[in-house]
């Protein structure tokens, strides 16, 4: 079956611009996660959804970051007024349910570069 897909694979933008990153989870997976991975680091949690609602957004660095999942499937991570420090790989994952012992399945990521 299809895995987690993310678009675009690469995004280059200018400082101050708005960007949207899309994630399409595995069909039937109710939990969806966003992580950010900087070069040489492990992924860091941003936000997760159980169904349509954001159950935990404690990892979002500031209010320029926002994510939605309006129909409980596809999710969009939105970044306003991008800064150079936002440059990173953004990873999406999904799992059968938001339980700590469930493995998460990751997409290939979107590499964001802010010039």
């Amino acid at each position: 079956g299809a895995g987690v897909s993310q678009t675009p694979s690469n995004k280059v933008t200018e400082k101050g611009k708005y960007v949207e990153l899309r994630c399409d989870p595995i069909s039937g997976h109710t939990a969806l996660y966003w992580y950010r991975q900087s070069l040489g680091q492990g992924p860091e949690f941003l936000i997760y959804f159980q169904g349509t609602g954001a159950a935990d957004d404690s990892g979002l660095p500031n209010d320029r970051f926002f994510a939605v999942r309006p129909e409980g499937s596809v999710s969009t991570l939105k970044i306003q007024r991008t800064e150079r420090g936002d440059s990173a790989m953004y990873l999406c994952a999904s799992s059968l349910g938001a339980v700590s012992y469930n493995e998460q399945f990751f997409g290939p990521g979107t590499r964001l570069t802010v010039l």
Binding site: Y33, Q41, G42, Y48, D56, Y101
Partner: protein, 111 residues
């Protein structure tokens, strides 16, 4: 704070030799521990996990990991390394419905 640590930035091993990638944890209660592998330009792939029960966990591609409560470790092992195992390996624990990752260990398997 609860965390996992990967003390080695890089591990070098010759093809055919056994490999070990180390992970230690600082987690209260019973930990849920995971290993993931990341190949260049590809997402993280799940290898194996420990929830409870048998301390030796077997996973994908011939990898296994041993949970050791007294040493608070969860080292990843493989009896015979392949060049194709060269990648970035991450240990993680599952807590509050999210994964917390270590900093990663780069494994280089030489022919």
């Amino acid at each position: 704070a609860q965390s996992v640590a990967q003390p080695e930035d890089q591990v070098n091993v010759a093809e055919g030799n056994p490999l070990t990638v180390k992970c230690t944890y600082s987690v209260s209660g019973n930990p849920y521990l995971f290993w993931y592998v990341q190949y260049p330009n590809r997402g993280l792939q799940f290898l194996l996990k420990y929830i409870t029960g048998d301390n030796l966990v077997k996973g994908s591609y011939g990898f296994e990991a041993e949970f050791n409560k007294s040493q608070t470790s969860f080292h990843l092992k493989k009896p015979s390394a392949l060049v194709s195992d060269s990648a970035l390996y991450f240990c993680a624990f599952g807590g509050f419905q999210k994964l917390v990752f270590g900093t990663g260990t780069r494994l280089l398997v030489s022919p």
